[in-house]
């Protein structure tokens, strides 16, 4: 692959961080390797005196090659939560020990029976003023904490989310620092039942765990009390502002959008490089077998995904920038932009993770049988990425959150107010009100070679679907008493509206990015990708565009035709476009996606190391086959 930088090489070639190919190890072995590397990593960080979070992150990504590891929750959730929600006194007690890994912590929120709907959590923390302690309990099987990473085997502390009861009243969810294992022996403390939740689709090196608490007592000072507080006599003091948690959610979801872009980019890199190496069948009789990348069907599978990977990359950067820009305002107490950003990131998190999830699978399928082998690296990318459709907010629920904001904006416009930001296209509705037709029925002259014109087409589609969903919701409300019931009966429409809105935002952001690219050749190829992204999206959703009268049958033909032309135009740049993602072979972890393209000989080398090949004759022959043949 590309020549390693000196610092990168130092980590990657460090003999301490070498081990057998993970594909050949059992789950327990993978966990052990990950823990070994994490422990060594921490020692080395101390040795080198590295303390800057960005540098730690960089170091970690090379040690673990971008894979999950048991300390992820400690570094990513436990420490930051202490920083943002602990009082100075609590920071003194917990932060430095945690920073030094005397305390290894995790973040225990999800329960066996409760996920995205936080208010439904059942774990209780009841304050006992007599002893000034909280009594923690898991009252039912469904209330057992389930899934937290690092909880199963690694952590000795957890931040536990529980319903707070004091003076006989429930005060809602609060966070508590709970020691779970004995320092020194690592044995579970009395009253604590803790373990690993068993094998999963992926995340083999992560000890996702369960935690059951029976009358487990912690001192009053272990409740995170920077905002809400319980005083020694049990008096509850309310937090000042609860919108603040929005900020964290926006931040995490922006990371998932970036992750969608990265994971899809990795899958595209593997599939496109391999498609340039693999030859199959014939295009012209008598000629040698062509590269499969020359088949239109293969291009049609892969190039739109390549365009999507670039689109998501720009969207991820946009959210991050926006978050940085307004996080200053947030600290100042100005939360005015937060609701829109929160609503937008919910939808984009769902949209990008769904698309990337399906895209990774499409890349794998495009590699035929060899994509199914773990040596391709694609099964691993998929199983590692796919839970992001569920964690940090289940995608359908996320789409409905965005829909709630869209409907609210629509209602505001209907009552004569103006809305701003990404939903400002809804303002056009008020002008349309005088005419009895659909908002989108106003003629949009779409020029299919012009990204800016395509943004308008997507805008019209979003407006039409938001309006349709809002009207259907109103109709249901007129029929039924319960708001929730009406909402539920419209939810399929609402999700469609959110998807259309997100799709519009992505096309818009991608298009806007083009003018910022100064290099003419780069701008040209990015424009082709942007057009492909937009046109492919139309060809996959022609129903919406035809039904709303945004496009005619003839234009749909032109769109399909133009998509095919773009495939041929992008073909010569395809490998260069994935090389630009600049993944090292070690990060890619794929024999099919190697930078040097020497696929087949390396597949053979890889297979020879398979555990089943350890001996020339497998022990099963002596144990089972031979006795059977002898008996017959």
């Amino acid at each position: 692959g590309r020549r390693l930088g000196e610092r990168e090489a130092l980590v990657i070639n460090d003999p301490d961080f070498q081990h057998e190919d993970l594909n050949f190890l059992s789950r327990s072995q993978r966990y052990e390797q990950a823990i070994r590397k994490s422990s060594l990593m921490v020692m080395k960080l101390r040795e080198h005196g590295i303390a800057d979070p960005d540098e730690i992150y960089w170091f970690k990504s090379f040690v673990h090659r971008g894979r999950p590891e048991p300390l992820d929750l400690h570094l990513g959730m436990f420490l930051p939560t202490l920083l943002t929600q602990a009082t100075p006194e609590q920071q003194d007690r917990f932060f430095m020990p945690a920073w030094n890994l005397e305390i290894i912590g995790t973040y225990a929120q999800t329960e066996m029976g409760h996920g995205t709907h936080l208010r439904g959590l059942e774990t209780t923390a009841t304050y006992d003023p007599a002893t000034q302690e909280f009594i923690l309990n898991s009252p039912t099987v469904t209330s057992i904490k389930w899934w937290p990473g690092g909880l199963g085997k690694t952590s000795n502390h957890a931040i536990v989310l529980a319903q707070l009861y004091t003076q006989g009243q429930c005060k809602g969810l609060h966070a508590f620092i709970v020691p779970i294992r004995q320092l020194g022996t690592h044995e579970p403390l009395p009253g604590i039942t803790v373990g690993d939740i068993g094998p999963k689709f992926g995340y083999d090196e992560m000890d996702n765990g369960y935690l059951k608490m029976d009358n487990f007592r912690i001192p009053r000072e272990n409740m995170l009390m920077k905002y809400a507080q319980v005083e020694p006599d049990g008096t509850y003091v309310k937090p000042l502002n609860d919108k603040l948690t929005y900020g964290t959610m926006v931040f995490i979801r922006s990371i998932i959008v970036g992750d969608s872009a990265r994971s899809l980019s990795r899958a595209c890199t593997i599939a496109i490089r391999y498609s340039a190496v693999r030859h199959q069948s014939e295009l012209k009789a008598g000629e040698p077998e062509p590269q499969i990348l020359d088949y239109q069907t293969q291009q049609y599978k892969l190039f739109p995904l390549l365009a999507t990977a670039y689109a998501f990359h720009f969207v991820g950067a946009y959210i991050k920038d926006t978050y940085r820009r307004i996080s200053g305002d947030i600290i100042e107490g100005d939360l005015s932009e937060l609701p829109e950003l929160h609503a937008l990131t919910a939808g984009l998190k769902a949209f990008t993770s769904w698309t990337a999830n399906a895209g990774i699978e499409e890349c794998r399928m495009a590699c035929g049988g060899h994509g199914y082998s773990r040596c391709s690296g694609l099964p691993d990318i998929y199983v590692t990425f796919t839970p992001s459709c569920t964690y940090e907010g289940e995608n359908t629920v996320m789409m409905l959150q965005t829909a709630r904001f869209l409907v609210k904006s629509y209602t505001q416009v209907s009552s004569g107010q103006r809305v701003t930001g990404m939903v400002s296209y809804l303002n056009d509705l008020s002008r349309q009100r005088i005419q009895p037709q659909h908002v989108a029925a106003r003629p949009v002259t779409v020029r299919i070679n012009d990204p800016i014109s395509l943004v308008e087409a997507y805008k019209a589609r979003a407006a039409r679907l938001v309006e349709a969903a809002a009207k259907n919701l109103q109709a249901e409300l007129n029929h039924r008493k319960s708001k929730e019931d009406a909402w539920n009966r419209t939810s399929v429409d609402l999700v469609r509206a959110s998807e259309a809105h997100c799709h519009y935002v992505i096309v818009k952001l991608f298009t806007a990015k083009l003018s910022e690219i100064s290099n003419a050749a780069v701008r040209a190829v990015m424009t082709e990708l942007c057009l492909l992204y937009a046109l492919y999206g139309i060809s996959k959703n022609t129903g919406d565009f035809l039904q709303a009268g945004i496009l005619t049958d003839t234009q749909v033909n032109q769109v399909n035709q133009h998509v095919k032309e773009l495939l041929a135009i992008i073909r010569p740049n395809a490998v260069a476009l994935v090389d630009s993602f600049d993944f090292h072979d070690v990060h890619l972890g794929s024999v099919l996606g190697r930078y040097d393209g020497n696929v087949y000989e390396n597949m053979f080398e890889w297979a020879k190391k398979s555990p089943l090949n350890k001996t020339e004759v497998h022990e099963s022959f002596h144990k089972h086959l031979k006795p059977m043949q002898a008996k017959l």
């Binding site: 594909n23 050949f24 789950r27 327990s28 966990y31 823990i35 070994r36 422990s39 921490v42 005397e102 996920g115 439904g120 099987v141 389930w146 199963g152 085997k153 690694t154 373990g195 690993d196 939740i197 068993g198 094998p199 689709f201 000890d207 030859h279 199959q280 295009l283 239109q296 069907t297 699978e361 399928m365 035929g368 049988g369 199914y372 099964p379 459709c389 569920t390 539920n488 419209t490 939810s491 022609t542 129903g543 035809l546 749909v556 399909n560 087949y600 053979f604 297979a607 020879k608 190391k609 398979s610 089943l612 020339e616 004759v617 022990e619 144990k623 089972h624 086959l625 059977m628 017959l632």
Partner: protein
């Protein structure tokens, strides 16, 4: 409502009330539907007896499979295969008996020697009577274990591209087999990596320097004494895959390996001692095996996983509660959310649709097989087109269906203990093996275009495609959302759409400059045309099946709902194709959507009984989320505790964590 009898064991262990209540509202008799799916109550009885016999035998338990390594899975599969031989003798079951399909269905492929059976079938179909007489008894008695080596490292679906060679040596009357380069290495055949002693190798036949194309040869690869590879043979396991850990998919390299002339399978062609090449009958017969295999995998390998996934996801959705639909009430079952219904119920409808199309395909192939036995090859092109298109459509649909079920179960779906990840990773392999789906769709498309052109020229075409010549432009007559519950209305829409996709293409292909260029330029649309055709036939067969059902026990009615849902979901999801050229108007599409959403709420009431009717035992589902009694959380908790990560003391703490912690403590 039908009072469906409840399984006795679930009464004793206590069914989760959330699931019990679902069974009280069934609009039909579950037992009657099960019998119908089995093809008669006597089949249901036999199936249950066999399942009972297998499940009561601890040697077949799959409880630990999610915890096992590749090595352990392989060993368990071999052990189970050996045990099965014993069991069959005990029970008086035979390979050709009616029980066999139920046995393998229950085992759901988690057993060794499946390719051994393909080995035997290929000899039966492609071998001469003499070859059958020699090899089949040996294989039946497991004195040899076979595999089937076709795919190579560099070559898959395109058979003509295979590079392995078999050169006839007149002097010794032998074939000399070789793997000329690394990309020609046989790669993927099951049972070959560690188990097989013999394999059928597909190689380019050369006689007197002339290439006669790909032919099958029986090659011994391991010693029958000590199981070591034969001279000139390099063989091993290809390493871990996304699933099939229990199968030793293998690689095979041959260097000057000699087999006698009699080892070329010669039912249809032969190399005579003097090197004369003789052929009887159509060359296409070689493809008939492949064609039938494509159909034979559908039921157990493809449709069954979707049925299981639906069972797991729908039962779990009746138990899982999340958020509130009405203030003050208990949190709602997630099955009551429209978005959840929209994910799962179309998959349920598809599972039924494919069950019926599968029966139809088997009838078609049984007829075809009779004809071919009589050396009448007329129906081969149609059978080939059918097997290609439906294999591609059903595998693609079921794969995405299982994944939808998996993701509809949220976080717990991601646990292997849900059973869903392994169902998914198994079913998705079917999109690739036995022919890559895109290539297969293109083969169907080629057939459709040919037929359409033949019809245009006034020539006769097979009955399954005569609709192509009945193109009449028009508009859909529906005026009300209820009109879309009429099969005539939606069938016509599907038919129009399929005709349009094919006819439109024929113009494009003919207008192209060079034929092969034009073909490649149209392949994206050709795939769509083949999909449209298969989708149409599936809806049509579903409609015809429902019409033939009698409405005792409420079965016809509930099947009609599912048929409507399958059809309308297809229109809703491919709206553009139906709106294009105005056969359906935008307003009609809104009616389709309304009708489709209404159906979700109707079928919701029967959702759990409809999956109960598939009649999977808890052991065959092997899922913490999908058990009949709905005791999801308890089961998940108890099962997780059996994980090796909890049973064994992890060395990680003592070896790595402790020194890390103490390193710091000592400095304190």
């Amino acid at each position: 409502c039908f009072r469906n009898p409840v399984h006795m064991d679930s009464v004793l262990s206590g069914v989760n009330p959330d699931l019990a209540s679902e069974r009280l509202t069934a609009s039909f008799s579950v037992e009657k539907l099960t019998a119908r799916l089995d093809g008669g109550a006597e089949h249901t009885r036999m199936r249950r007896a066999i399942v009972e016999a297998i499940e009561s035998d601890p040697a077949f338990s799959r409880e630990n499979q999610y915890f096992q390594s590749q090595n352990e899975r392989y060993e368990a599969a071999v052990r189970r295969a050996v045990h099965l031989q014993k069991k069959m003798r005990e029970m008086g079951w035979t390979e050709n008996g009616p029980e066999i399909k139920y046995i393998y269905r229950w085992l759901s492929g988690d057993i060794a020697f499946l390719l051994h059976r393909v080995f035997m079938r290929s000899i039966s179909v492609l071998g001469s009577d003499k070859q059958v007489a020699k090899w089949i008894p040996l294989a039946t008695e497991h004195q040899i274990i076979g595999s089937y080596a076709q795919t190579e490292l560099g070559h898959g679906t395109y058979l003509q591209g295979l590079e392995t060679t078999a050169v006839f040596d007149i002097a010794t009357q032998e074939f000399l087999l070789n793997t000329p380069k690394i990309s020609a290495m046989k790669w993927w055949p099951g049972d070959m990596g560690r188990s097989a002693t013999h394999t059928v190798v597909f190689a380019q036949l050369y006689v007197h320097g002339k290439c006669y194309g790909v032919h099958p040869f029986i090659v011994q690869i391991r010693s029958l004494q000590d199981h070591s590879p034969r001279p000139g043979v390099t063989v091993g396991d290809i390493g871990p895959k996304m699933n099939f850990e229990h199968t030793d998919n293998g690689y095979l390299m041959l260097q000057n390996v000699r087999v006698p002339r009699e080892n070329m399978l010669s039912r249809f062609c032969e190399v005579q001692p003097d090197g004369t090449y003789v052929r009887w009958g159509s060359q296409k017969i070689n493809y008939f095996t492949m064609t039938t295999v494509r159909i034979s995998i559908l039921s157990d390998e493809v449709i069954l996983p979707l049925m299981k996934a639906c069972t797991i996801a729908i039962r779990y959705s009746a138990v899982r509660r999340q958020s509130k639909l009405k203030p003050g009430e208990q949190e709602a079952k997630i099955l009551d959310y429209q978005t959840q219904q929209q994910k799962l119920l179309p998959q349920l409808a598809a599972a039924y649709a494919f069950h019926f199309i599968n029966i139809y395909l088997h009838e078609l192939f049984d007829r075809g097989y009779q004809e071919i036995q009589g050396r009448n090859f007329d129906s081969l092109p149609e059978l080939h087109a059918f097997s290609s298109g439906f294999k591609a459509m059903v595998t693609q649909y079921c794969t995405s269906g299982v994944e939808i079920c998996l993701r509809a179960c949220g976080g717990h779906g991601y646990s292997l203990l849900s059973g869903l990840p392994s169902l998914y990773t198994r079913v998705l392999a079917s999109c690739i093996y036995e022919g890559e789906n895109t290539v297969l769709f293109l083969q169907t498309a080629r057939f459709l275009i040919k037929c359409f052109m033949a019809a245009s020229a006034g020539q006769p075409i097979p009955p399954s495609v005569t609709y192509l010549s009945s193109a009449k432009p028009g508009k859909c007559p529906a005026k009300d959302k209820l009109d879309f519950l009429s099969p005539d209305v939606y069938l016509k829409a599907y038919e129009q759409m399929a005709i349009r996709s094919v006819t439109k293409l024929q113009h494009l292909i003919q207008s192209g400059a060079e034929k092969h260029e034009a073909w490649n330029q149209c392949t994206v649309q050709l795939v769509k045309a083949a999909q449209a055709h298969c989708h149409y036939i599936t809806v049509k067969i579903f409609v015809e099946t429902v019409e033939k059902l009698d409405n005792k026990a409420g079965i016809q009615k509930v099947m009609k709902h599912l048929c409507d849902l399958f059809a309308l979901h297809g229109i809703f999801s491919n709206a553009g194709d139906f709106l294009y050229d105005g056969y359906l108007s935008g307003a009609q599409m809104d009616l389709v959507t309304a009708s489709y959403l209404d159906l979700l709420a109707v079928i919701r009431m029967d959702a759990v009984p409809l999956v109960d009717a598939f009649d999977f035992t808890d052991k065959s589902l092997n899922s913490a989320l999908g058990s009949y009694d709905g005791q999801v959380y308890q089961r998940l908790y108890e099962w997780a505790q059996k994980s090796p990560t909890n049973q064994q003391v992890s060395p990680a703490y003592g070896k790595y964590l402790k020194p890390l912690l103490q390193n710091r403590l000592s400095k304190l």
